[in-house]
């Protein structure tokens, strides 16, 4: 799987090489972890200007039926978010759940008018597509779009850059979605991302991706950003990484992403795992995903144990690293609900030694989504 010859590539692979990226295997793809500027510089650039990310490894699935009500209802049978209320031109976060209330993947769904566009994680796209194929009613059609690339332009100056070349983005708010032409290429654009910053994601035809990426990189505000900074940006923003912070053993309520389950869905149920998830919504979960601020300078990594004051193991770190904007180590993990209060002190195992860590509210840095 990690043999370079066996790895898949995105339509921007040769561009990454030309830009001097260090390539690593990720979810079966040969992907840029960083460019010559380095993770910290790329992270900071995205927080202060604009960064361009290749996220073409992610799965893009078009879901279509004779009418959008039927397609929305079919998605709702697998995902507990409210997609019947999603208006054309809007996007909404959700997740596939299993019968035990665990999470099979987290995802975004945009209403494209005559279809829905679902974006899923690279590591899960084949499983997700099989799940859709197996469970969608026969009048609802899903297609995994192999001929599309996905670019993310993120950061406070992303809007300046995109509006310069795509006037139709003017007036878009956070989680708006529109089809339009960007620099002569037909794109499906959403105002969303995975950095905590304002920004856009552009679904583009694969054969146009490199040309468009090069044009965007020519803009003075824009720098290419690798997966390393993508991870540190999302961690500071308190966003979950599937496979680390959420998986089949965690429920949306434990993970603190139950806000995505709309009021009507809570009242009606009708999604996999509803019994457990609705019970946890009513009674509270036994454990919660929390942010942690370890004392000192050393990052604490995923799978480190979390201990209470008497040294008893109470949980595990699921993501941990160094937050370049905070200039401090940050982490996420699960602890019993009674320990989940911000300000509470626990300790984490760092190479066999306990290090004090404070439970922190998330995001660690203020998010700057364009909500109005």
């Amino acid at each position: 799987m990690n043999d370079p010859a066996q790895l898949k590539t995105t339509p921007l692979h040769s561009l990454h090489r030309a830009l001097g990226a260090r390539m690593v295997p990720f979810a079966g793809y040969d992907m840029p972890v960083q460019y010559p500027a380095g993770i910290i510089a790329e992270h900071r650039h995205t927080r202060s200007h604009a960064g361009l990310f290749d996220v073409s490894h992610m799965g893009q699935v078009r879901i279509r039926a004779a009418n959008s009500e039927a397609a929305a209802a079919a998605i709702e049978a697998l995902v507990p978010a409210d997609y019947r209320a999603l208006k054309p031109g809007r996007q909404r976060y959700g997740f596939f759940t299993n019968e035990a209330g665990g999470i099979l993947d987290d995802l975004m769904v945009a209403h494209g008018g005559d279809h829905f566009l679902m974006v899923v994680n690279a590591s899960r796209k084949d499983a997700d597509f099989a799940h859709l194929q197996a469970n969608l009613p026969k009048e609802v059609h899903a297609a995994l779009l192999a001929d599309r690339a996905l670019l993310a332009l993120q950061g406070p100056e992303a809007v300046t850059v995109i509006q310069r070349h795509a006037p139709e983005t003017v007036g878009m708010r956070f989680m708006d979605a529109r089809a339009m032409t960007v620099l002569g290429t037909n794109c499906f654009v959403t105002r969303s991302g995975y950095t905590g910053e304002d920004g856009f994601e552009l679904s583009v035809p694969a054969d146009q991706a490199e040309r468009l990426a090069r044009r965007l990189l020519d803009e003075p505000e824009v720098m290419p950003i690798g997966l390393g900074a993508r991870d540190s940006l999302r961690l500071e923003a308190g966003l979950c990484l599937y496979g680390n912070d959420i998986d089949e053993t965690t429920t949306p309520v434990e993970a603190g992403i139950e806000w995505a389950i709309g009021k009507r869905r809570r009242a009606e149920g009708g999604f996999p795992g509803a019994k457990r998830i609705l019970a946890e919504l009513a009674e509270g979960p036994k454990r919660r995903r929390v942010g942690l601020l370890p004392q000192g300078r050393s990052p604490v990594r995923a799978h480190s144990t979390i201990l209470d004051a008497s040294g008893v193991t109470i949980g595990e770190i699921t993501s941990g690293g160094f937050g370049p904007s905070l200039e401090a180590p940050i982490a996420m993990g699960y602890v019993p609900t009674r320990h989940a209060r911000p300000g509470e002190q626990v300790s984490v195992d760092l190479r066999g030694k306990p290090v004090v860590a404070e439970i922190s509210a998330m995001p660690f840095v203020q998010t700057r989504y364009h909500r109005d």
Binding site: R22, V33, Q34, G38, I39, I40, A41, H43, G228, D231, S232, R297, S298, P299, R301, G321, F322, P324, P329, R351
Partner: protein, 125 residues
């Protein structure tokens, strides 16, 4: 003239008398990316050739640094604690980790010289 030798774990050691100054190579710092934390052994600690001696943390991951020779730590570069980025900026100079008083000079015979290390790194690609 001092002699610089290299390990296949990408540490360098510069020998002056019976003391070796140890750091990680430029190749190693480049592979690690931005260094954000360095944990050094205490002065007086005995270290053993090939066993972990220090930890270097980049944004992405933690890596062990192994002792290239057996001996005793006689000095640690405490400047790295406040300025871990020095490892990236000057891995083979100001970014040194520790000084070790060698117990057994014959251990140096198994290490690579600059030409052999260069060849070794080229073989990794």
């Amino acid at each position: 003239m001092s002699q610089i030798l290299y390990t296949d774990e990408h540490e360098w050691i510069r020998i002056e008398g019976d003391v070796g100054t140890v750091g990680i190579t430029d190749y190693a710092q480049e592979q690690l990316g931005d260094v954000v934390f360095v944990e050094l052994p205490a002065v007086g600690r005995k270290v053993e050739k090939g066993k972990d001696m220090a930890v270097v943390e980049s944004v992405k991951a933690a890596s062990e640094v192994y002792a290239p020779v057996t001996g005793e730590i006689v000095e640690a570069n405490d400047g790295l604690v406040g300025e871990p980025g020095t490892v990236n900026a000057d891995a083979t100079g100001a970014g040194w980790f520790v000084k070790i008083r060698l117990t057994d000079r014959s251990q140096l015979e198994g290490l690579m010289d600059a030409a052999a290390y260069k060849k070794f790194v080229e073989g990794l690609h």
